[in-house]
Symmetry: C2
Subunit: 148 residues, 2 copies
């Protein structure tokens, strides 16, 4: 099913081969560890929403969609999981294993989360409030939009 | 030491006895659990920064300060910890044990984190970028400011 074209899709999508993890600062001392990020700076967009994904059974896959406009930034705070990004031409898989590593997913990148460890806690920052119309959930539609 | 009065302290501080945990939505199904919050909505301020505190040795105490202007919102994503809030007159202690419970700490509330479990991961949202001048680290100074 092709979603309604209410939301203008980002014209130019990023080449996933050029995407790398963002290293966040770490302050570690006898009192423990602290890592931080600033919105519109280290997290490269203005953040309006967060969500946290946890207790994911290992065999399950989450995500599997792209966004027309929304930017996301993923950090695995505990445990680990894998994220596969696909720009319509190439794919690249990242293993998120520590709270000091962030993954920026720009609009028009198909993302799939998988192989969550039992204790995995995934924090996601989003540039927009939830909008069902911003999701592209059909891969064929995504591929078609990539060629426009 | 009394900090420089560059930053205007919030005039009216909140009575901690009226502070309660914020319940965040939970979406739980066979694929796992998801909880979320929206900034300036469920998290009651515009968020500019996050930080994550983890690997805190159990005997250590963190926090122990108040802010002149900065709002904070705390969520314990894994494990648990205790937060004691003090408004200069009363104190109230919260145990944070799940990612669906948030604690809003307004300016001019003295906050102390303690009894972190070994696996505790504490996520904090802040309304301002880091500013050393916004911290009140001396309890006597805090008490004095409370009476102004």
């Amino acid at each position: 099913m092709v979603s309604k074209n209410i939301i203008k899709t980002e014209k130019k999508n990023k080449d996933v081969l050029n995407i790398n993890l963002t290293e966040m600062p770490l302050v570690k001392d006898l009192r423990g560890s602290l890592t931080f990020g600033e919105f519109s700076k280290t997290v490269p967009f203005h953040v309006k929403r967060y969500f946290i994904v946890y207790d994911v059974p290992n065999q399950h896959i989450r995500g599997e969609h792209a966004h027309h406009k929304c930017h996301q930034f993923l950090i695995c705070l505990k445990g680990n999981c894998r994220i596969m990004l696909d720009d319509g031409n190439n794919s690249k898989t990242f293993k998120l294993i520590e709270p000091t590593k962030g993954l920026h997913i720009a609009p028009m990148i198909w993302a799939t989360q998988f192989e969550h460890s039992k204790d995995a806690v995934l924090l996601v920052f989003a540039s927009d409030f939830y909008d069902a119309n911003d999701y592209i959930r059909d891969y064929k539609e995504f591929k078609k939009l990539c060629t426009l």
